[in-house]
Amino acid sequence: MPPDSVPTDAAAESVSAAKMARRIRRSALQMVHAARLGHPGGDLSAADILAALYTAVLRIDPRNPRMPDRDRFILSKGHCSAALYSTLAEAGYFPREWLREYMKPLSLLNGHPDRNKVAGVEANTGPLGHGLPIGAGAAKAAKITGASWRTFVLTGDGELQEGSNWEAAMAAAQFGLDNLTVIVDRNRLQQGDETERTVGLEPLAERWRAFGWAAREVDGHDLEVLIRTLRAVPFEPGKPSCVIARTHKGRGVSFMEDRVEWHHRVPTAEELSQALKELGGGDE
């Protein structure tokens, strides 16, 4: 959304966001297949959240990626770089052709995002638990300078086992950072197993509330709900906002959905073809 534009109807915007989400999913799977590396399960669970942000929420200008008053979006789950790069290409930060270079030798598109190489990337992430502290610092900078831009951080759910997130959560509440929003991609699976069978996170919304945040739980694949919710921040003045987006790892591809092995499995040519057929939209 360009700066100063008037928000239109979330229902109407969710239609174009859905198209973008489908293109993100298609392109992320093609990238992972070509690179023989990547994290397709998380790419697919995050696609709708990314599409909602970049079509209807963030105040950004891809032609001016370092505009001082831009909203900051930080992908803390940096391993889902294929989804992020696809989103940034869709948003117009760089040509879609670049996506073919994903993880090739000397490519700008490293397996984890590098802000010094790719326009639109705000933070170099990959090791988990880095995005929220950086986001808290950015939001604090806006408070100190009296600027109106906002900060959004997308974390994984397994990632919340990293203690640094909770250090940042405490500080953000203490500082009253109501210009900071964390979105948790709650797909319930981490690399090896379900989160609740590894080190459980529930009751997750209650935990955020106990840490001083205003938290809401939503369907992370309902674009209209995502857009309305992310536009409604801050949920409470003086408090940072948390959106727990209930998602499915591998969303959109029947044989990947809710399957732990697709955290970082690479689809074969046949699997890719089947996945693209299921996703549809190849003629767009």
Partner: protein, 321 residues
């Protein structure tokens, strides 16, 4: 000879920088007292960010503040700032090339009796291995102040390894620190002592003792550990043996950095003086310096041995007939 705690120069300079530039902010881990930030907090309460006892978050917050256009000076005891938050130092600062100034307070064995948990004698090895990160160890108040100003003016991540140990004035008040430039504090043809931080004054004292022994020792202040002053090192290597002196383990610190240059350019006989790769026993900083030969007498002894050894080897290799 009057001695100074460089934290005074640190805090006065930071306040002066903040007065002139609204982008300067301080970040602390509940260390406002030990980092000498009380005056800063009083003068600029809205620019004092205290994240509580949480170093990983502290460094991440610093990177975020820089992303938002500010110039954060992130202050904490060096042992925790570097050790606890090393991945954030690497990724959020070095790899991201964030404009963050990391200020490691009370480095080395300044915490003495509190023991190895609070000693920070690995921080140079850790930080100087990180690409993009500039690493500086000032030796006195004038250099602390000048290095702080240089860090603020430079766009990129800097680690300032600061101390609370009392040191004398070494440089004149108008001294200008420069990244990658090591001042020669004393000339001498028999051996070069390359030191930084609290060890520079001690190396100078040792050089005076050596003069009485008839040994001419040069002293170089290698405060800029990354980038190094390669020319100064080469000049020393061409002149003769080199003794490095640091308040740090001899594994991977100043001595290691100098040796990396020497062996790849002009091999010279070297000796690395520092903590010998073991955790220190209980004792005050001064006790530990003496215990490990990091006092003027210990430095004198090591330098004299090195000079004697080089003369002997030179004689054995090229005997006078």
């Amino acid at each position: 000879m009057s001695l100074h705690d460089c934290r005074k120069a640190f805090s006065e300079t930071l306040v002066a920088l903040a007065e002139a530039d609204p982008r300067i902010v301080a970040v602390a881990n509940d260390s406002i007292g030990s980092s000498n930030l009380k005056e800063f907090k009083k003068r600029f309460p809205e620019r004092m960010v205290n994240v509580g006892i949480a170093e990983q978050n502290m460094v991440g917050v610093g990177a975020g503040l820089a992303n938002g256009g500010l110039i954060p000076f992130v202050c904490g005891a060096s042992c925790f700032l570097t050790g606890r938050a090393l991945e954030q130092v690497k990724v959020d600062c070095g790899y991201s090339r964030s404009n963050v100034k990391l200020c490691g307070m009370s480095s080395g064995v300044a915490y003495g009796e509190l023991g190895p948990t609070h000693h920070s004698i690995e921080d140079l090895a850790w930080t100087r291995a990180i690409a993009n990160l500039t690493v500086v160890v000032p030796a006195d108040p004038a250099e602390t102040s000048s290095a702080l100003r240089a860090a603020a003016a430079y766009e990129g991540p800097v680690f300032l390894r600061l101390s609370r140990m009392p040191v004398p004035d070494i440089h004149p008040a108008d001294y200008r620190f420069e990244f990658g430039r090591a001042p020669w504090l004393r000339r001498g043809s028999d051996v070069t002592l390359i030191a930084n931080g609290t060890m520079v004054a001690r190396a100078l004292e040792a050089a005076a003792l050596l003069e009485a022994d008839g040994i001419k020792a040069a002293v170089v202040n290698m405060s800029s550990v990354r980038p190094l002053d390669r020319e100064a090192i080469l000049e020393a290597a061409v002149a003769g043996p080199i003794l490095t002196v640091e308040e740090h383990t001899v594994v991977g610190g100043l001595g290691g950095a100098v040796a990396e240059v020497v062996v790849q350019s002009h091999p010279a006989r070297m000796r690395l003086l520092g903590f010998p790769g073991e955790f220190a026993p209980t004792g005050s900083p001064e006790f530990l310096f003496e215990h490990f030969g990091l006092n003027p007498e210990g430095i004198r002894r090591a330098a004299a041995q090195l000079v004697e050894e080089s003369a002997r080897v030179a004689h054995e290799t090229h005997p006078v007939r």
